[in-house]
């Protein structure tokens, strides 16, 4: 093997456009990263699960966290919420935050929203793995 062959072997291949597009679209719209790669059933199931979880959280008067520099848990909750991508942007834009929380289940709602965001992140990473061929 010549030096040029070795050099060519060490250079990582250029990322395909899909490896950037799939996780980005998947983050913005839950499940869409799979759908654009023709994994329709998986994409629809992911989309239904994540959107349902997020919307049930909103319906339970869950809190949608905004960027903050206060309590550590609040900061982490914001990160979790932000992972929901388009859902988070819409809920902030339309101000879906409850005014006065009157029920104990509202705390469950907040957790539903955070976990929906985290599940969306896992889904976007999975879309990336499909795009680079690590997973079928």
């Amino acid at each position: 093997m010549t030096n040029s062959d070795k050099a060519a072997e060490n250079v990582s291949p250029m990322p395909s456009s899909m490896s950037i597009l799939a996780p980005a679209i998947g983050w913005l719209v839950p499940g869409a990263g799979h759908i654009i790669q023709k994994c329709y059933i998986r994409g629809v199931l992911l989309m239904a699960s994540i959107i349902s979880m997020y919307m049930i959280g909103i319906a339970m008067q869950g809190h949608v966290y905004s960027p903050n520099g206060g309590d550590l848990l609040d900061m982490l909750s914001f990160l979790g919420d932000a992972c929901a991508g388009g859902l988070y942007i819409i809920s902030r834009a339309l101000d879906w935050n409850p005014g006065l929380i009157t029920k104990a289940t509202a705390d469950y709602g907040s957790k539903f929203i955070v976990v929906a965001g985290l599940l969306n992140f896992i889904s976007a990473v999975d879309a990336y793995h499909i795009a680079i061929g690590k997973k079928q």
Partner: protein, 59 residues
């Protein structure tokens, strides 16, 4: 505002999380279904066990 019982919320949580876990953590369809069902059973079983553990601590 949606009113869901504690157990209902836990089952819904288990359902949605299990679907995503099953799809994202395994390679083949068969493995995905198996892992999703296992996750769901573990989530709901854990809720029931934790519920009984809290009941025993209380009494």
């Amino acid at each position: 505002m949606t009113q869901i019982s504690h157990f209902g919320a836990a089952v819904l949580f288990a359902l949605f999380a299990s679907v995503v876990f099953g799809i994202t953590q395994k390679q083949t369809t068969r493995e995905m279904i198996k892992y999703g069902l296992q996750s769901f059973a573990m989530f709901v079983g854990g809720v029931i066990l934790a519920g009984w553990a809290m009941w025993l601590l209380r009494h």
